[in-house]
């Protein structure tokens, strides 16, 4: 009896790895969240497991009294409690579904099967999620940018907004590409351990390259706005990527946020001020 969660990717990879294996699956309702996150938030937990065991009438379906739970479900599952309340013993299987067959054959996990990895493919697969999560705040940001770009000596000019905003929107998109795509891919190559700093490097380098390409068309103040804005966006998104990595501790993330957020806020103010003042001193 293997236990899984109703997150499509988890469940599908488990099914694929179980070809030619004769077994039962018990799927906990985690509302579309993967095993590890759900375990951290409690929906993949002892109570839900006991409930599902009873609801499915497992005691009548199988003779044995053993549940194989994915190892990453352990933050939510207390083996002793489950045994006491359901009569089933919890055995922790491997981290990855690919290793299930091997686990069933040798009836145990080696150190490698118990350890989490984070290779290039595992990082790349997270990028679409990161981008998807930025869509809503990004659209709001772009509307604000459009309005800010129109502010000038005539109070507000629609023409100016149209003419100037593409530039600032470009800086925003550059920040998104740097923070949500380049940073995850280049992660092991980037210096420093704090993610907001990694984002500053990638966003800053991207900004300087763009400036070099555009330098004949922009003023000094606009350059400052462009660079600080793309760097801020990249830094924030890189910092938020900590939540998707399997090697960051919440205490550490809080530590770096206390340092990163003030810098990002300062750069945001700098970008806004320089961008808004440009039309007044032209």
């Amino acid at each position: 009896m293997l236990v899984s969660a109703n997150f499509k990717l988890s469940f599908d990879s488990l099914r694929w790895s179980l070809k030619e294996v004769d077994c039962w699956l018990l799927v906990l309702d985690t509302r579309g969240i993967n095993v590890w996150c759900a375990a951290g938030k409690g929906s993949f937990g002892s109570d839900e497991l006991v409930y599902s065991v009873n609801a499915a009438g497992l005691a009548e379906v199988v003779e044995h009294r053993e549940l194989i739970v994915p190892q990453l479900g352990a933050p939510g599952v207390d083996g002793a409690k489950v045994r006491k309340e359901s009569g089933f013993k919890v055995v922790y299987g491997p981290v990855r579904a690919d290793d299930i067959k091997k686990f069933l054959e040798q009836n145990s996990c080696d150190e490698k099967m118990r350890s989490v990895t984070f290779n290039l493919a595992e990082r790349a697969i997270l990028i679409p999620v990161e981008l998807y999560l930025t869509i809503k705040p990004l659209l709001i940001t772009l509307v604000i940018l459009f309005i800010i770009s129109g502010i000038g000596p005539n109070l507000f000019s629609f023409t100016a907004a149209l003419a100037r905003s593409p530039f600032f929107i470009g800086a925003t998109l550059l920040g998104v590409v740097s923070g949500a795509i380049a940073t995850p891919l280049l992660l092991p190559l980037l210096p420093w351990r704090q993610f907001w700093l990694k984002g500053v490097i990638v966003g800053g380098v991207g900004g300087v390259i763009s400036w070099w390409l555009l330098q004949e068309r922009i003023q000094v103040l606009e350059t400052i706005a462009f660079l600080s804005w793309s760097t801020t966006i990249a830094s924030y998104l890189a910092m938020n990527f900590t939540g998707a990595t399997p090697f960051t501790s919440p205490s550490g993330v809080e530590y770096e946020m206390r340092r990163g957020l003030p810098v990002q806020a300062g750069l945001t103010v700098l970008a806004a001020v320089t961008w808004i003042t440009t039309p007044f001193i032209r």
């Binding site: 969240i33 590890w36 996150c37 375990a39 951290g40 938030k41 190892q71 990453l72 352990a74 933050p75 939510g76 599952v77 207390d78 083996g79 002793a80 922790y92 981290v95 996990c109 150190e111 118990r114 350890s115 989490v116 990895t117 984070f118 999560l133 992660l187 092991p188 351990r193 704090q194 924030y236 910092m239 938020n240 900590t242 939540g243 998707a244 990595t245 399997p246 090697f247 960051t248 501790s249 919440p250 205490s251 550490g252 993330v253 809080e254 530590y255 770096e256 946020m257």
Partner: protein, 95 residues
Amino acid sequence: MKEFRYINEQVSLKLDSATCIGCGRCTTVCPHRVLALEGKKAKINDFNGCIECGACAQNCPTGAIGVNPGTGCAAFIIAGWVNKITGRRVMSGCC
């Protein structure tokens, strides 16, 4: 995890050797090989490798392990701060 290291000394993991009975469950559930059995007691092998997922503390039968568990994304932590300041559950954070 050897390839990736995060900020040092920012981990809330604690192990009380006196209460530990050496069952080894923590060493099984840890995703980063932070804990290891030495004789009949668990020990912290790689303190800075801990990501505070909470699996060890959840599965420890004697409560010998203490950790302040959570998920480490910025949006979730900001939500936590906002909720603490306002004293209400204003934001839910991410996933």
